[in-house]
């Protein structure tokens, strides 16, 4: 154990993560050359992330720190985005460990038919819920408890994935798929409730035209422009007492440009990082498609980027960007301004769009309420996640704190972390609630999946009939 810790401390995550991923790839029968190339690119991505986050911290971090100290605005949280969140999670021991354990857990749960969802194809998105487990670890110092929390949240994610699968297939038009990306599917149960309320008060009649909205709101989807504006705004507020000097204005504009530059560079850097995990995902996908898994009627989990661009979803997400930004400013007690994750808003509403069957108005209202609740929860975990980030080598400057908005505003994740860091009683309560909901879902699966937005016709033709013909063929 001592030697292991020494090795980990000496080499650091940018060496270790790629090595673990390389070994894992080989075990899963990825071609050695592909696996090696992927691992090297992943290492390069990690180092590049260090550089880019360092730049963000020195420019924007200092300003946010100054803003908190010089004004009454208490928003120390810097939203470094989901990609950086992923890097931080995988740079922590628990993140590395769960890549291996999670894959095993997923395979076992699928083989014993606990779930209909095949998750190993979405290995990249483990960080979405392991994020919360990392917080448990830093709060309790108990690695076993953190792992238990990760497994528990993984079960919750799979339940959500089973629930929304048919609706995703119908609305987005891809057969046999679902999503296990926590931020993309977490709002589904709330959306079902909101849809029911909407019907009662006849709000479901309000229709908006997606294409017109997209044209008008296209600007909000451009990360570079968003970074520029938010960077300038924060620097302006931070330096409002010294606006008379030329040097202050130079600082303000530089901070704006730096933030814009970082937003623009993010995808390229993150693109390197994920290349370590893409071979595992594609190899698993190929093996499933080749029919190596003999099971009727299952959902393959694929990355939520494929659902992103659907007209209604994109329009609803883009409308929500300025709305959530506005709410985050006026919401009492909120400690983080969304920044890098603003452009990820269409991901956050994917399940709502599917449940609402493309009703944009319903999707926007539901998303705004759900993530306002999420923001309040997110404000309580910033300090502790910043510690996890620092342990992974990403330190915030001064009074500023770092986290990812889209990872932190997921209420189920917060509840899971709360339960697992509040003693055995609450853990038992959480597990009991999960089991009750799980067995109710299994008993009324079709009914629940229809409530989640799948039409009866689609259910009979595509989801259930597939089953009938396949059984007949055997």
């Amino acid at each position: 154990m001592e030697t292991l810790k020494l090795i980990m401390d000496t080499f650091g995550s940018s060496v270790l993560v790629p090595i673990i991923v390389f070994i894992l790839s080989l075990i899963l029968k990825v071609k050695p050359k592909t696996a090696f190339k992927g691992a090297v690119q992943m290492g390069v991505g990690l180092v590049a992330f260090n550089l880019i986050l360092g730049a963000l911290m020195t420019s924007l971090g200092g300003q946010v720190s100054a803003m908190v100290q010089n004004t009454a605005i208490n928003m120390p949280g810097i939203d470094v985005g989901w990609a950086a969140g992923a890097v931080i999670v995988y740079s922590n021991t628990i993140g590395m460990f769960y890549l291996v354990l999670g894959l095993g857990v997923n395979l076992v749960l699928f083989l014993v038919k606990w779930t209909d969802t095949f998750q190993p194809t979405d290995i990249w998105n483990y960080y979405q819920f392991v994020f919360w487990a990392a917080i448990v670890q830093y709060l309790t110092g108990n690695f076993g408890l953190a792992i238990a929390c990760a497994v528990f949240l993984n079960l919750v994610v799979l339940l959500l994935a089973d629930l929304v699968g048919p609706a995703f297939q119908e609305h987005y038009g891809y057969e046999g798929v679902t999503s296990t990306c926590f931020c993309a599917i977490n709002a589904a149960p709330f959306a079902i409730l909101m849809k029911w309320i909407g019907k009662k008060i006849h709000a479901d009649k309000i229709q908006l035209d997606p294409d017109k909205l997209k044209e008008k709101l296209g600007f909000w989807g451009e990360p570079m422009a968003m970074g520029l504006i938010i960077g300038i705004a924060i620097a302006l507020i931070a330096n409002w007492k010294e606006l008379g000097t030329l040097a202050t204005w130079a600082t303000i504009i530089t901070v704006g440009l730096t933030t814009g530059a970082i937003m623009a560079l993010y995808p390229a850097v993150a693109g390197f990082f994920v290349r370590g995990l893409t071979p595992i995902s594609t190899t698993m996908q190929m093996r499933v498609r080749r029919g190596e898994i003999k099971r009727q009627n299952f959902f393959i989990s694929i990355d939520p980027a494929v659902y992103f661009g659907e007209s209604a979803n994109l329009a609803a997400g883009l409308i929500l960007i300025p709305i959530m930004l506005g709410i985050s400013i006026i919401e009492p007690g909120n400690k983080m301004l969304p920044l890098a994750d603003l452009a990820a808003m269409p991901f956050m509403v994917e399940s709502i769009t599917a449940v609402m069957r493309g009703n944009i108005f319903g999707t926007v209202v539901t998303g705004a309420i759900w993530y306002t609740i999420g923001q309040a929860m997110n404000s309580t975990i910033l300090t502790i996640f910043s510690q996890a980030a620092a342990a992974g080598g990403y330190k915030a400057t001064g009074a500023s704190l770092i986290s990812s908005w889209s990872l932190g505003v997921v209420p189920w994740g917060w509840l899971g972390y709360k339960a697992f860091s509040s003693g055995w009683l609450w853990i038992c309560v959480a597990v009991a609630v999960y089991l009750v909901v799980y067995f109710l879902f299994r008993k009324n699966k079709v009914k629940w999946q229809i409530a989640a937005g799948c039409s009866e016709e689609f259910m009979n033709e595509k989801i259930l009939k597939v089953n009938v013909t396949e059984t007949a063929a055997e």
């Binding site: 989901w82 990609a83 990249w124 987005y172 038009g173 891809y174 798929v177 294409d211 997209k214 296209g218 989807g221 451009e222 990360p223 995808p267 390229a268 993150a270 693109g271 994920v274 290349r275 893409t278 995902s281 594609t282 996908q285 190929m286 498609r289 393959i300 694929i302 990355d303 939520p304 980027a305 494929v306 659902y307 992103f308 661009g309 659907e310 007209s311 994109l314 883009l318 452009a343 990820a344 269409p346 991901f347």
Partner: protein
């Protein structure tokens, strides 16, 4: 030389997979190329490129009329061969057009 753009929601995960596959296809067919990542929301405003491949379904079109192809099959593996044929045909068409103009 053919300039291809790969676009997805976040410009990250699916883009990486599809970019790798396209590179493989074009190298096999000895097509000189560049591949640039973009976001779906940027599709209308992309300029100076020859072909856009999107990793998910979208109704977005380019303002300059750069053709947009749906490349989801390269990600999921379903219908990959059909897409590859279609893609190569499109590339050939674009190269011929370029030849005429240049």
């Amino acid at each position: 030389m053919i300039k291809v753009v790969v676009a997805c929601g976040g410009g990250i995960f699916t883009t990486s997979v599809v970019t790798d596959r396209l590179e493989e296809i074009m190298r096999k067919n000895k097509i000189r190329h560049t591949i640039t990542p973009h976001k779906i929301t940027e599709i209308p405003s992309i300029t100076g490129e020859d072909l856009i491949v999107v990793t998910g379904k979208t109704s977005a079109t380019n303002d300059e009329g750069i053709p947009v192809m749906i490349g989801i099959s390269l990600f999921t593996g379903v219908g990959e061969e059909e897409f590859t044929e279609e893609f190569l045909a499109k590339v050939k068409e674009i190269e011929e057009q370029k030849g005429q103009n240049g």
